[in-house]
Amino acid sequence: MDIKPADGRTTSSGTTHPARTLDRRSLLRGSALGIAAMAASPLLAACGGSGSSGSGGGTTVTFGSNAAVPQPKGAYETLFKAAHTATGMSVKPNWVDHNTFQQNISTYLQGHPDDVFNWFAGERMQFFAGQDLVSPVDDVWQTIGAHYTDAMKAQSKGKDGHYYLVPFDYYPWAVFYSKSMWKAKGYEEPTTWDEWIALAKRMKKDGSIPIAFTDKDGWPAMGTFDYLNMRMNGFDFHISLMRNGDKWNTPQVKAVLDQWRQLIPYYSPGFLGLTWQEGAQQLLNHQAGMMVIGLDQIGTIFTGAKADDLGFFAFPEIDPANGQQAVEAPIDGMMVSKSPKNHAGAVKLLKYLGTAKAQQLWLGSNPADIATATGVDASKYTAPQNAAVKLIGGAKNLSQFMDRDTRPDFADPVMLPALQKFLNSPGDAASILSNVDKQAKSIWAAGG
């Protein structure tokens, strides 16, 4: 800035308003300085940051985690410390909150993803494996294969037969209840549909809400649909419906919704406006008798001294041909990105994470999940956790939950509102299904 002419000009007017001229000039000079300082600050900050985060390869493995909330985050931190001792690999986590991570997975994997990242089994894994955005982990499975059941192995493979996922923790969906409430009232676990309805009727007469069903979030209803479909039409029909989306407008699916209508009178009043947490609270407060939900959710409500009060039974049998063989058990695990900076380190880390020891360390006192690997010390589990192990161990087939078993662009955008619409006006089942069928066909036709 050339100052001389500016001075010459300002003094002429400055004689009358010295304060104002000074003010204006200092403002200008200040703002120029400010611009320079502000423009430089991100560069400086980025510079400082790159020193610590730019390191890749060697003994560092980057880990994209969807566990930014304190509870699982602390458990992961403990786990990574132990992993460092066991494998010599120091894990550098990138914490992102669960929902953002999930919704941005596509951009995340196409951007510059971390070496290892949290993900899910089932179609959700196969979808990205099919798009060639992740690396196979067959070499990891050569070591950890012995720790896993066949049902678990099947859930970890892509459509090409290669392994893509190392399962870490999972939990079952079932019908949950409060043991103390049932003991006081003398209720007994039903195993068939008729027994279940009779029990619900009795609870209603006793003045409580028979089934705490809450569907403001949308996804809880999917669990009931999955179970009804698997019990009535069998596991294979259910999985084929989820994967291929071609049989929505059939008598079989229509029958599922008709069966569902029998349950609706026993649901919580105003259930479409209640979140699952409010439903779980009804169970905890003994206002409601039962709830179809996952252990991972309800386990966070029944905590501490209440943990062992949580009981559950398998979703009742409807067709004896299908019995209660299939269990809905969403599996969470880890995958390796397409071109990790430290592939050898990622393999080492996953071999460690695929052990019961690592998984139990992570579980700690968390009563809401169970370890996927075999050989866990069951004495450290709570009563519901041990019951969950038994339930899943006896299952012939594992499903992953609707939003993990079917296409991501179909589950939430189409099925979630469709089920809510059905629950709101059960009489419209036929038109809702034909609408779902149309959308499914166009989505599968467009996305291959």
Binding site: L27, A45, N99, G111, P113
Partner: protein
């Protein structure tokens, strides 16, 4: 009003009736309606805020047991301190500063240059140029996210500027997109404002031998302080509140701004709404600070730009 003295008898009578009204003996129904409307609107805007504050004062266990619409249980500021620590708010506030301040300064600076040229000089495409910038304002951000994301991945940045080595997942990338989107609106408002500054000022400067740069930097820009302050308030709020670009273009969780950090309090399934209410209230404070700091200029700046354009 009639001239005093022409109707000596009527004038005092009329005046006293008016005085009565002003004193509130029989206020005009329109005025009552206005105040009811204002109070109602005020309430509609304040209730969610007060409700959030009330919720934030209560621990989760109490609201879970009694419901959110209830009185009783414990009250305290525990949620605020927990949110501050758990969501690592200081760290994310700093990220927001790193994104918002450079974006704000660059936007205002570039927009003021565009506005200066468009408003103070007559040439063939000057209206077209202004329309181009204003039209850019109407472009929906979501429409260009995919090509932009792909583009960002192809632009390399030196390692010292971005750890990712790409424009994607970097601070400069986010700053750039904010500058690109906000310049249109700022240029439009500022050019309207600059048109209100008498042309003689520029002519006098030319007579004194001032270059175009000096007309801009030393004559026009200092007069634009009100509009700059008004735009700074608005733009600060918009850029600071951005969640869309911050989540799409920034994959490193630790580099996201404070709006994204709020989500770090939400679990996979479990949501502690009391804690989130507390964090949201804390995060809203900077916009209030900026507004109150620039309030005087904000009002005068907006009205000046609007009715003299």
């Amino acid at each position: 009003m009639t001239a005093p003295g022409t109707l000596p008898a009527a004038a005092p009578a009329r005046r006293s009736r008016k005085a009565d009204r002003a004193r509130g003996d029989s206020p005009a129904p329109a005025r009552i309606a206005l105040h009811i409307f204002l109070a109602g609107t005020c309430l509609v805007w304040l209730v969610p805020l007060l409700y959030a504050f009330y919720t934030a004062l209560r621990p989760y266990a109490d609201t879970a047991r009694r419901g959110y619409v209830s009185v009783g249980g414990h009250y305290g500021t525990g949620n605020f301190s927990a949110a501050w620590v758990q969501a690592q708010l200081p760290h994310y506030f700093w990220n927001s500063v790193l994104i918002t301040v450079p974006a704000l300064v660059l936007t205002l600076w570039l927009a003021s240059m565009v506005a200066f040229v468009v408003a103070r000089f007559r040439f063939r495409i000057n209206i077209a140029l202004l329309m181009l910038f204003t039209a850019g304002n109407l472009l929906p951000q979501q429409a260009i996210v995919t090509p932009l994301f792909k583009l960002y991945q192809l632009v390399p940045l030196p390692q010292w500027l971005a750890a990712s080595g790409k424009l994607d997942d970097s601070f400069p990338g986010l700053i750039l997109i904010h500058v690109a989107f906000q310049t249109g609106f700022c240029a439009f408002v500022m050019s309207n404002y600059m048109r209100t500054i008498p042309a003689e000022l520029g002519e006098a400067a030319v007579m004194d031998g001032a270059s175009v740069w000096r007309q801009y930097w030393q004559v026009i820009l200092p007069l634009c302080r009100p509009v700059l302050a008004a735009l700074a308030t608005l733009e600060f709020t918009w850029i600071y509140n951005d969640f869309f670009w911050a989540t799409v273009l920034m994959q490193t969780g630790a580099n996201r701004p404070v709006t994204a950090a709020l989500n770090n309090l939400t679990g996979e399934f479990f949501v502690n709404n009391n804690l989130i209410a507390a964090a949201a209230l804390i995060v809203a404070i900077p916009t209030l600070v900026v507004f109150f700091a620039l309030q005087r200029q904000f009002v005068s700046g907006l009205t000046l730009g609007a009715n003299k354009g």
